[in-house]
């Protein structure tokens, strides 16, 4: 190119600069070999860029270390926080999310030196960022598993075969995608007590859908899941902070949730001894004889309901009899005292 041959630096300013950058970067053949040996493309799709939310921005607004041409062969990774966190210059800049990201497990990994850890670009894209509600966006809800799956491959495979992933394929948007359970920018390790998938937080997270009457009805889900869990030994222990107590994921799995009719499901009757056996050594098929989510108050539980009710009325009648006896005794004593006074 003429500029490079003459070695006269061209200052990149003004909105017309994009055309200059695209002069090279619209070439599909433009590539670079990294020190690791890996080849990366330097092609930027101008059509995508024009369709993105940053179409009115100039290249150097993000690539701030480039001020003139020719530019250095090694450039810094763009820091989105410049506009979206540190000095928010645009009113639409999502500050809250950026602040949340600072506390996230991804940021922590990045700080530890894990180069594969994502910051903004890995999930949102670089030159093709679209609003989350745009079906073409990388963070459009149904696309999210695919986006997260580009790093979390095994989990994505499990999820795709699970009831949630399979239903998502069918177009059911009631199912959770990764961000619904893990958060979007505030993703924390499951071992972090502030994580939405921390052992004692899991029931709350699953209940966002599985205690929602609307979602239950629309998807024909089993009812009273949270209620029955909360009443159980596991639920009470979990509520009081016991992280060893079973939560929803302990039995149902997290990414490989399948209905009990599925032979691969952790809650299929034949698999229950193995699932329960993770915490209860020696679990056999007796563990599956009887409902797991027990609703005492409802007549479906049959004999449990009647025994419970029977005890309730026994208690009430015995107490009524005892209190009656006591009351009569007191009255009797009062009457005797009065008689003695008169005598």
């Amino acid at each position: 190119m003429a500029c490079a041959e003459e070695h006269i630096p061209i200052k990149l300013t003004g909105p017309e600069q994009n055309e200059i950058c695209f002069g090279c970067h619209s070439l599909t053949a433009l590539k670079k070999r990294l020190p690791t040996g890996k080849m990366v493309t330097l092609f930027v799709d101008a059509k995508q860029f024009d369709a993105s939310v940053h179409s009115t921005r100039t290249c150097t607004e993000c690539h701030t270390d480039i001020t003139y041409l020719p530019h250095s062969k090694v450039i810094e990774k763009v820091n989105c926080g410049r506009c979206h966190y540190i000095n928010p210059v645009v009113s639409t800049a999502p500050q809250k999310q950026a602040a949340q990201y600072q506390e996230s497990v991804h940021k922590a990994a990045l700080l530890r030196g894990n180069e594969k850890a994502p910051s903004c670009q890995e999930c949102h894209g670089a030159h093709d960022i679209k609003a989350a509600v745009d079906p073409k966006s990388r963070v459009y809800r149904p696309t999210i598993p695919h986006t997260c799956g580009s790093c979390h491959l095994d989990i994505y495979r499990q999820y795709a075969e699970s009831i949630h992933g399979a239903d998502l394929e069918k177009g059911n948007l009631d199912v959770p995608v990764c961000t619904d359970c893990h958060g979007e920018h505030s993703i924390r390790s499951p071992k972090d007590p502030l994580s939405s998938v921390y052992a004692t937080k899991v029931p709350e997270t699953c209940s966002r859908c599985h205690a929602s009457e609307r979602i239950e009805r629309r998807n024909n889900l089993a009812v009273a899941r949270e209620e029955t869990y909360r009443e159980s030994f596991h639920g009470i222990a979990s509520r009081y902070g016991d992280t060893a107590a079973a939560n929803c994921a302990s039995c149902h799995g997290s990414h490989d949730i399948r209905p009990s009719s599925d032979p691969k499901s952790s809650i299929n009757k034949l698999n229950l001894p193995h699932t329960c056996g993770k915490c209860h050594p020696g679990a056999n098929e007796n563990f599956g004889k009887g409902k797991i989510h027990v609703i005492i108050q409802r007549k479906e539980q049959a004999f449990l309901y009647y025994v419970s009710n029977g005890f309730k009325w026994l208690t009430i009648s015995v107490m009524a009899a005892l209190i009656g006896h006591i009351g009569l005794d007191l009255l009797g004593r009062r009457r005797k005292r009065r008689q003695e006074k008169l005598a």
């Binding site: 009470i236 020696g282 007796n286 009887g290 449990l304 005890f311 309730k312 208690t315 015995v318 004593r333």
Partner: protein
């Protein structure tokens, strides 16, 4: 007996009769301790979502500690139960008094007369022997309750062992029984037993029998007149 002078009567009225031996009192103190421990650690589990239960569990040192304390109380109760079983079978006094606690026709006639008295249809309260029908009711209430609580409690504690033999629904049943029987026992004690020994006007504020083991002649005449007469006639 000839008429008594004032001082003689005082001496006579305050003469004491042994009601509970030291052995029996110790059994009872241990029962109080274990029962209170079991109730305090047990009821918060039944009423887990209430604020008092939250505070109680926190005060106890958390949910796991609650469980450990409860099991300790259970072991105490089981030990007491077994000891008492031996006491009733093989100790002379235990066997004799146990026989006296068995229900009989007199208890029915006593109850009928008591109700008649309460409603003004009889002039006198029934004359009780060593154990009134209410005391017999309490005794077998504790016995029966303990059997249920220990059996269901052990099944719930050793759940893997229990479910090696029983279906899961049997343990659900055990839990229902354990939880309700606990409430029944707790209410019986704080309502009936506390009335009998604390809050009834003759005993108020507290009958001392559980501490000293002795009853005055006045108490005997009030609560166990038949036994009192039998003792006097056997002495003369």
């Amino acid at each position: 007996m000839s008429a008594r002078t004032g001082i003689d009567r005082l001496k006579h009225e305050t003469q004491e009769f042994e009601r509970l031996s030291l052995n029996q009192r110790i059994q009872h103190w241990l029962l109080i301790f274990s029962f209170v421990l079991l109730v305090v650690t047990g009821l918060p589990l039944r009423y887990w979502e209430t604020a008092p239960a939250e505070k109680a569990i926190q005060w106890m040192g958390g949910i796991e500690m609650r469980g450990d304390l409860h099991r300790f109380g259970a072991l105490m109760l089981i030990g007491l139960f077994i000891y008492h079983l031996f006491y009733v079978l093989f100790a002379e006094r235990g066997a004799r008094e146990f026989r006296g606690l068995l229900f009989g026709k007199k208890d029915i006639t006593d109850l009928v007369q008591m109700l008649k008295y309460y409603f003004g249809l009889a002039k006198e309260k029934p004359r009780f022997g060593r154990f009134s029908y209410l005391e017999k009711f309490e005794f077998f209430g504790v016995g029966w309750g303990s059997v249920i609580m220990i059996a269901t409690g052990l099944a719930l504690w050793y759940k893997e062992l229990a479910m090696a033999l029983l279906p899961k629904w049997a343990l659900d049943l055990a839990l229902v029984m354990h939880s309700w029987e606990a409430l029944l026992a707790f209410l019986s004690i704080i309502i009936l037993h506390m009335y009998n020994v604390h809050f009834n006007p003759s005993s108020f504020p507290m009958s001392k029998v559980w501490l000293t083991g002795r009853m005055t002649a006045h108490q005997m005449k009030e609560e166990h007149q038949l036994e009192y007469e039998q003792i006097l006639s056997s002495r003369s």
